[in-house]
Amino acid sequence: MLRLRNGQAAPVADVPLLAGDEFRSTVIDAALGGARVLAFFGQASPDSRGAVRLWGVLADALTGDLGLLATDIAGEIFPSLTPDCPQLHHFERELLETWRLAPAGHPWLRPVRFPGDRPEGPALAEFYRVAGAEVHEVAVGPVHAGVIEPGHFRFQCHGERVLHLEIALGYQHRGVERAMLEMPSRRRIHYAETLAGDTSVGHATAYAMAIEALAGVAPPPRAEALRSVGLELERLANHTGDLGALAGDVGFLPTAAYCGRLRGDFLNLTALLCGNRFGRGLVRPGGAGYDVSGALAEQVRKRLGRAVPDVAGATDLLFDSPSAMARFQGTGRLWRSQAQGLGFVGVAARACGMARDVRFEFPAGLWLTRQIQTATWHSGDVFARALVRRLEIERSVAFVEEVLADLPEGPIRADLPGGHRVGAPVGPLAGSHVAVALVEGWRGEICHVAVTDPAGDLAAYKIVDPSFHNWYALQLALRDQQISDFPLCNKSFNLSYCGADL
């Protein structure tokens, strides 16, 4: 494997192009040794006609290295790696759908997004079914009861007890990965910002890092600091909103009402920085979109200081309420072995006791010189996912206050080769290179992989939202639960449909 650090680029020629068997055994051995699969995707092979180049991107948390390898697959069938490396189950389903590459021996080859003209939509496709006289099936979605994104949930139930849940997505599929290559390049940053609208800063940062690596430019320290502030404000807004929604789902309304408002307060802080509540425009390849004066930084800190006791008061009420905690504890439990074996990320993994956090394991940018202590809890249930969020809120607040009080001096944009114009790409990208960018978004690890052709145009752009890994965690968490606990379990993950559907 070629070893890279987060946010680095390398010539494609340096990535070992292995024979099928060797590729397979290298990936499986690495996974058995504790590596995690960040991305596993196809590209029309630049060398041999008709073949698909399969890329594997792995992460070794012990060394902080990312490992890249590739193989060319000529036929339409390859032996599935999933039985030996379950982390790949979703990626292999995606390969079948996108590249018509069938992983032979995959235990459950169901479509992921239903792109193109397929006769059956997500809700009409085949589902795993449990048979039995008293077993019944519950179908929910795509249009849900609340104001949320579309998805279809199929429960196999025995009375109130859920034996199995299967989630069918694809309703939000709008062809972003294809469009990243085919549509005018000035749209790319906007695709990044809308991959998951509540993670605009996270995805835009990953995109910017990948492009900067390929263009050979480094954003100035001040820009890195501003991006990190935006990323943590995004985490604050969403975690606060999630705690409120969790409270609402168990009928504990005070916290639901306060956190609903406070989430907006954090969004408004982001709008102070860049004019948009979701951080649109804050991150641009080469740096940051907006500078922050001393007075503005002070204003943000002051307003943050006013919100903090309100958030603490609202969450203390929730965590001090035995009736609410009784509903959280033991509900929707995941085991650490599941998180490890299936490659779950973010809050869901940390709530299983795993210190899995890009900011700590694969630092880049500001995280090379600063640290937020990774928040974990061991119990794997709704309580753990709520508690991890509460701890992360406290730590992100401290981080934002600290960084804003001491912003590095200097410009917010790198001097870009070939001059720079608003909205234009950062300059020529290195030809035949590959770059990997990881960002710890509020849901978890965001991974972008960009590959260029010899002319420096994008030849492949792979996006892995944390939800892509974690939707399966929700399915597992529902086993043996009451179906009435589904909203609570669902909210405790709060996964992205559009981020997974692309």
């Binding site: 104001v147 749209r187 609903g260 408002r261 559009c498």
Partner: protein
């Protein structure tokens, strides 16, 4: 219990005064209604058009003719690119209109806004409007800011507006997203399930024009090609105030 009451007192009353009182102060950098002055565009350099991600700028034979609010992502790149200051973004949050072509801004004075419903529809919905939200392929930012309307800050239920769980209980749809091909059937069925007379509101650039996904074969360039739209609320996403303003104008409450 008394801790809950004490916290309630400490958190205080947070609901907006607007529209009875003043609107909240929006950030200096907030990008609301663009001010477009083709008279200032003498060079006809089309720099603005070259940076616009969604081709929202329309040109005459030479100079800038209009900006299409329905396509605009409010990134502000056009204003930054224009050497003559022909485009600027104001902090005016009121932008919703009833007709698609009213979203074209071609003069600095233009400020078309939504007319109220008339006659019987207004009598039916003016004081009580139940909406079913359909998310159809966007990025979830519009949905997030539609949810915000239900918080104590905006509290739309004080205007008799509510989001309901079933289209059967609804007077209309609030649609977000470009309407992906995979969501089209679900949207059509949901629309059919709403009893007539019914309203359709397209919220955000995606639902109006496809937004950043305009021209994608995986989506339908907005809700207008699938169901008839009664109110267009531009933005990416629209600020909650923009949405509330549009809804209140539609109901004749503003």
């Amino acid at each position: 219990m008394h801790f809950i009451l004490l916290e309630r007192l400490r958190q205080g009353r947070r609901t907006l005064q607007w529209p009875a009182g003043p609107a909240p102060d929006l950030p200096d950098r907030f990008r609301g209604r663009p001010l477009v002055d083709p008279g200032k565009c003498s060079a006809g350099c089309r720099e603005c058009g070259e940076v616009c991600p969604t081709d929202a700028l329309q040109f005459g034979p030479g100079p800038l003719a209009a900006l299409d609010l329905g396509k605009c992502l409010f990134c502000g790149d056009c204003a930054a690119a224009c050497p003559e200051g022909a485009i600027a973004f104001s902090r005016d949050f009121a932008m919703a209109v009833r007709e698609r072509e009213d979203l074209l801004i071609g003069s600095p004075e233009a400020r078309l806004l939504a007319d109220a419903l008339d006659g019987e529809t207004r009598r039916l919905f003016g004081r009580s409007l139940r909406l079913r939200q359909v998310s159809a392929g966007g990025c979830n930012a519009c949905e997030a800011d539609a949810n915000v309307l239900q918080t104590v800050v905006f509290d739309i239920s004080r205007f008799g507006i509510q989001f309901v769980a079933s289209p059967r209980h609804a007077d209309g749809l609030l649609i977000t997203g470009p309407v992906t091909r995979n969501m089209r059937l679900a949207l059509e069925k949901t629309y059919a399930a709403v009893p007539a007379p019914r309203l359709v509101i397209a919220m955000g650039a995606c639902a109006i024009s496809g937004g950043p996904y305009a021209g994608h074969p995986e989506a339908c360039d907005g809700a207008g090609g699938v169901v008839p739209v009664d109110l267009f609320i531009p933005g990416c996403p629209p600020h909650p105030l923009t949405v509330l303003d549009g809804l209140l104008r539609l109901l004749g409450r503003l």
